[in-house]
Symmetry: C2
Subunit: 337 residues, 2 copies
């Protein structure tokens, strides 16, 4: 994997204290890869000194004087902070110096900057955010996760194409199955946009499974689930809330008394394996797809392990030609402008 | 609670073998309540004989010759099966013989029949389905759950009113807080319908909290969460899928070997308490609100305990004047026609 990843080291809740050690872990696990750490010179010098740079030219630092804050409006971040670590990381992809960019910063700003700097691919109206969730069978890619809240059927078709190409690039699945998120047959009235999107997907040449419901996401019915950004965001956040509640309840029940605490100690190996199976850190790294370049968004609260996964996903997408795959597919469907 | 509940005994996966014992449990726990069991005479005679009717005139049987099947289209069920157990149960509410109806049958058919027979309240455009979910603080009522997939801002306002009146009737909360389901501040673009609904709710005189996100459902941020039926259905089904996956993983980890099975035995009391806290059967019984009568939908797979909860909810809503509360509120807001 001879890929170079530009890392916005200032984004996220923890900044360089997480992003720089994650870059080190990534370099150790990918001996042919390179990283460019982007951020404030002093902060990066200190963080690199702390990890003890032994990677030679595989690790370089690129100074950027500004930082996009979590509450910066996307338009402001894009127009006024032209030397932000986020902007410079994306600029490096545009210039071809890096093949992918990773940031744990403000999602809206990252999307606005990426779209402005890299532009969308021919035939793609709007980029989307694709995340990975664990399923009973393995994992599923869900898009869109919030970039697009009012979608036309054509947009959902494009999400299907981008999602399928993402899975074939990153997961090496030949013809990923694509499901369209809808509500049950008991629905008194269907949703017109989704119905028409289903027709477009059926005629797309993709491996279209048909409609899926919310529970199919975690059943692993398909490799890709397509939905508009409002619905996708609600599904993701609702899942996070439920998982947190269940984890809190489980912990409470095992902390109730000395006896239950002893039970927890006995059961720890099984509880730990359970926790590791559904560890959201393993699935960190949402791809911004539909752009002329690879950009991956990490969760803001990511720790070193989680951020490393996001860097890994970015490198994997770039070295497996994600952008070209989407572009070729659009052209083959006669959809590229 | 001197209320009479009409029970569609033929609906759901199990029919009279669940619905009739659930009616018995309900009568035992509510000494002033009555039930009318509706369904095929032979099936009910047999089921009532099996429970040994010792309730005198508190339990009566009303014969209905037809059954709405789970795959009957709502319009067909409504127009052609005029002597179905579902239809007769709702007719009994219309006639004033019963104050509430409960069914575990086809949701679409139950909504269509209820709307046709009972009609909506003045000022309510569309009835909604409100379900209860557990939260870290207690429980939350979420509506709509699938009856309305393309909503205008005015509909979301009406859901807010109906949800608040439902919680004040059934949970005895004075001014329930109402949240409007939206996506994060990071959203690149808001959803226009939701934005305008927020303005209407803000000026409604309800205890409006403002926007909530998916994770707020399980955090218990508000007493009521309002959303359109498509989003609500996806949130509910996604939650079901995630909960099932986590339960399966937990079970797998504890069944892995003799050692982990022994751990499970030791940890059983804590695991059981955990399971009971999130037992979806406790929350069974979704109210169809906005109608001139109380109708409650049970999950089709409900067992005796779960179906009893649905009967209990129906009786509670009727004896606490749910319909009148919504009606009075609409009139007070100058919204009743």
């Amino acid at each position: 994997m001879g890929v170079t990843v530009a890392i916005d080291c200032m984004g996220g809740d923890h900044g360089p204290s997480v992003t720089v050690p994650a870059a080190r872990a990534f370099l150790r696990n990918h001996p042919e890869a390179k990283v460019i750490l982007v951020g404030r010179q002093d902060a990066l010098d200190q963080a690199v000194a702390a990890i003890g740079n032994g990677f030679g030219d595989r690790l370089s630092v690129r100074a950027a004087s500004e930082v996009v804050e979590m509450d910066d409006p996307p338009a402001i971040a894009m127009r006024t902070k032209k030397d932000s670590s986020m902007r410079v990381a994306v600029d490096l992809v545009k210039a071809g110096t890096a093949q992918a960019a990773v940031s744990a910063g403000n999602t809206g700003a990252l999307m606005a900057i990426s779209r402005f700097v890299l532009k969308t691919l021919d035939g793609i109206d709007r980029p989307a955010i694709a995340t990975i969730l664990p399923t009973r069978k393995g994992q599923v890619y869900v898009l869109d996760l919030g970039a697009n809240v009012d979608c036309e059927p054509e947009h959902l078709l494009q999400f299907g194409i981008m999602g399928a190409m993402l899975v074939s690039a990153v997961e090496h699945v030949d013809r990923p199955s694509v499901g369209l998120l809808n509500i049950g047959e008991e629905a008194i009235k269907g949703n017109d946009v989704v119905k028409r999107a289903g027709e477009l997907l059926r005629g797309s040449g993709l491996n279209f499974y048909g409609n899926v419901e919310g529970d199919d996401i975690y059943k692993g019915t398909t490799d890709v689930v397509v939905c508009d950004g409002f619905v996708g965001n609600v599904a993701l956040k609702t899942s996070e809330g439920l998982a947190q509640m269940l984890a809190a309840f489980l912990k409470e029940e095992f902390s109730r008394s000395l006896l239950t605490k002893a039970m927890a100690v006995v059961a720890m190996p099984a509880l730990k394996r359970f926790k590791s199976r559904v560890d959201h850190r393993r699935y960190n790294g949402a791809a911004l797809v539909g752009l002329r370049g690879v950009v991956v968004k990490s969760h803001g609260s990511a720790d070193v392990y989680a951020f490393e996964q996001a860097i890994h996903r970015a490198a994997e997408a770039a070295s497996n030609r994600l952008v070209e795959r989407i572009s070729e597919r659009m052209a083959a469907m006669g959809r590229a402008a």
